[in-house]
């Protein structure tokens, strides 16, 4: 009985592909479709969901995660590898983050409106003209001092969901604002006149915006002028990473937080472990989700009041 059905099916197929259509019957388009299917399969079986999306198979994602982790450890300046690591390992944390955004009114609005922090969307002149201590002014100061631009952030490539791709993009663009909010500028040497610089640039540590009342010995002369000392960029990045790890739960932040301090000397490690990291973790736990803040509408707000609103504790005054 079954064999009869199979034979009939084969006959039907043969009839459909009859030479009546000049031999261009079903068999030929089907061969093309098969080839296309094979190509689709080899491309990860999906079509791009957003501009710049590269669909990947689970095996490719695993290889990418491993490879980018090695590349990032080998050469810490490979920011693109850090980005890829974040995308390929964020499959659990990103949906949670997106849900936290959806459940908050401001976060929900961000997900709807999809604002981007870019040179083309920011009015740099206006922000630079805001009073000191406001979010806009301090953010511009951070960008100028470190000679970074918000446009250097890599777009998401390997996230297989369009909304999650936006979430990780938002996280990247908000990273510089994290530095500003936490008071962790990575380099302040550009701001100070040469004569008041301490001899050892990696010596002192003082967050921006908090006057240092201690008299400092500078170039052999005791000066009572409050001198914010230059800051070590690695310490700042590690502190921000710890904060972000607690806030977002992204594996890339956790890895960065764990491996970041590896190359620091004992003194800096001690400062990190005793003062900065506990503060970062406490703030991270206490603060509401930093992605739920519509920063573009709060440029005029002062950094301190924004810190209070979010729940970030004031940065510790650290002496080295």
């Amino acid at each position: 009985m079954l064999r009869g059905a199979a034979v009939r099916a084969a006959l039907l197929r043969a009839v459909r592909g009859a030479p009546g259509r000049a031999g261009l019957g079903r068999a030929v388009p089907r061969a093309e479709e098969e080839e296309e299917e094979e190509e689709e399969r080899q491309r990860g079986g999906r079509v791009p969901l957003y501009p710049g999306h590269i669909p990947t198979t689970p095996l490719q994602k695993a290889l990418l995660a491993a490879g980018s982790a090695c590349a990032a450890l080998w050469d810490p300046y490979r920011h693109d590898m850090v980005a890829v690591l974040g995308e390929t390992t964020g499959c659990l944390a990103l949906p949670k983050l997106r849900d936290r955004m959806r459940n908050d009114p401001e976060g929900y609005r961000i997900l709807q409106e999809r604002p981007r922090i870019r040179l083309s969307t920011l009015d740099m002149a206006r922000l630079g003209g805001l009073p000191d201590g406001t979010l806009g002014r301090e953010y511009i100061r951070f960008l100028e001092d470190n000679k970074v631009s918000p446009d250097t952030r890599m777009p998401a490539k390997f996230v297989d969901d369009e909304e999650l791709a936006y979430v990780i993009q938002r996280y990247r663009e908000v990273h510089d604002l994290m530095h500003t909010l936490l008071g962790m500028p990575t380099n302040m040497l550009g701001e100070l006149p040469r004569s008041v610089l301490p001899t050892d640039p990696s010596d002192g540590f003082w967050p921006i915006g908090i006057p240092d009342p201690r008299p400092r010995e500078v170039h052999g002369e005791v000066s009572s002028i409050p001198v914010p000392a230059p800051l070590s960029s690695v310490i700042c990045e590690v502190v921000v990473k710890w904060f972000e790890a607690v806030q977002t739960g992204l594996p890339m932040c956790v890895l960065g937080a764990a491996f970041g301090p590896v190359r620091l000397n004992a003194r800096k490690l001690q400062v990190l472990a005793t003062e900065l990291l506990p503060w970062a973790v406490r703030s991270g736990r206490n603060a509401s989700c930093v992605l739920n803040v519509y920063y573009e509408q709060r440029w005029e707000q002062s950094v301190e009041s924004l810190r209070e609103e979010i729940g970030i504790f004031p940065p510790p005054a650290v002496c080295v």
């Binding site: 592909g17 030929v28 061969a31 093309e32 290889l63 693109d80």
Partner: protein, 311 residues
């Protein structure tokens, strides 16, 4: 029934067929006939542009990527090509799509060592040489170590040539080497000029392979040899599956991790699949006028060396 199906299949087997062209006009492109870029269908002009950009992007990391993708085996393939060529001193070689100079450097090393051996043999055969004759022969070796052999490296991409020149400087190659910007489909050399024409891992990127083969025929001297080293088709089914798995899963990842460029390496593996297999390429070479055309599979067909003579 089978006879009825076959012509249809033949019509649509070339990707630039009528049906695809019909579908393609919906996109409104009219710059030349349809061809392929990896697994996409594009016009010829667009394909040339895209391929130029691919090599512009990969030029700096080209050698590193070759080593990591082929686990260094590409060096062995290129050595085998030059050994097959077996050039003698005085050979004039044109290496088309020669990019970073791998074949050119191997050629120079080979003729230099052949020349040294020649001079040593000459010394050994002459029993009673005067001091003047001996010193003259050493001078000959020093003044003409290559025996007038020359190689012209020709590539369509400025970045690849730049990378090649830097490498030559770094490795100390200066004599007998020249770098020319040119298109394999339209070479600016005179007819009957070269003894050997090589194209290693380049003919796959040429848009009109037939034109490139015709140009190769034109610039070779009578008696000259055409050698083509290129990725080809693996017939062994198990090896083919492993090769596909490696190509599609690992190579783009390597491209992203090492060179920061997924798409160029995705193009690379797709273009290998689109390239004609061994017998088809052999037929194309014969169509251009070459005789005694043959091919040698390396690594079960992952790579093949095609050879032909202008007689």
């Amino acid at each position: 029934m089978a006879a009825g199906l076959c012509p249809g299949r033949a019509l649509l087997s070339r990707r630039g067929g009528a049906l695809w062209a019909l579908l393609g006009t919906a996109r409104g492109r009219a710059a030349g006939p349809e061809t392929h870029f990896g697994f996409q269908n594009v016009s010829e002009a667009e394909r040339r542009e895209k391929i130029y950009q691919v090599f512009e992007n990969v030029a700096e990391k080209y050698d590193v990527m070759n080593d990591s993708m082929s686990l260094g085996i590409h060096r062995v393939w290129k050595d085998i090509l030059v050994h097959k060529m077996n050039p003698s001193p005085g050979t004039l070689l044109v290496d088309v799509a020669g990019g970073t100079g791998d074949i050119a450097f191997r050629f120079l090393n080979y003729v230099r060592s052949v020349r040294e051996r020649q001079l040593q043999q000459k010394l050994r055969h002459h029993q009673n040489l005067s001091w003047q004759e001996i010193s003259k022969s050493y001078q000959e070796e020093k003044s003409n170590p290559l025996g007038d052999s020359q190689v012209v490296v020709c590539d369509i991409n400025k970045e690849m040539l730049k990378a090649g020149k830097q490498k030559a400087q770094h490795l100390g190659y200066s004599e007998g080497l020249s770098w020319v910007l040119g298109n394999a489909e339209e070479l600016h050399f005179d007819d009957d000029k070269f003894d050997v024409y090589t194209i290693a891992f380049g003919i796959r990127n040429v848009t009109r392979i037939d034109l490139a083969l015709q140009e190769a025929y034109r610039v070779l001297k009578p008696g000259g040899r055409f050698l083509c080293l290129e990725f080809s088709h693996v017939s062994n089914p198990l090896l083919s599956r492993l090769y596909d798995l490696y190509s599609f899963q690992v190579i783009p990842v390597l491209g992203e991790v090492i060179a920061g460029d997924w798409k160029s390496y995705q193009y690379l593996v797709e273009s290998i699949r689109r390239f004609p297999p061994q017998e088809e390429l052999k037929a194309m070479i014969e169509d251009a006028g070459f005789l005694k055309v043959d091919y040698q599979n390396l690594n079960s067909g992952i790579v093949a060396i095609h050879s032909g003579f202008k007689l």
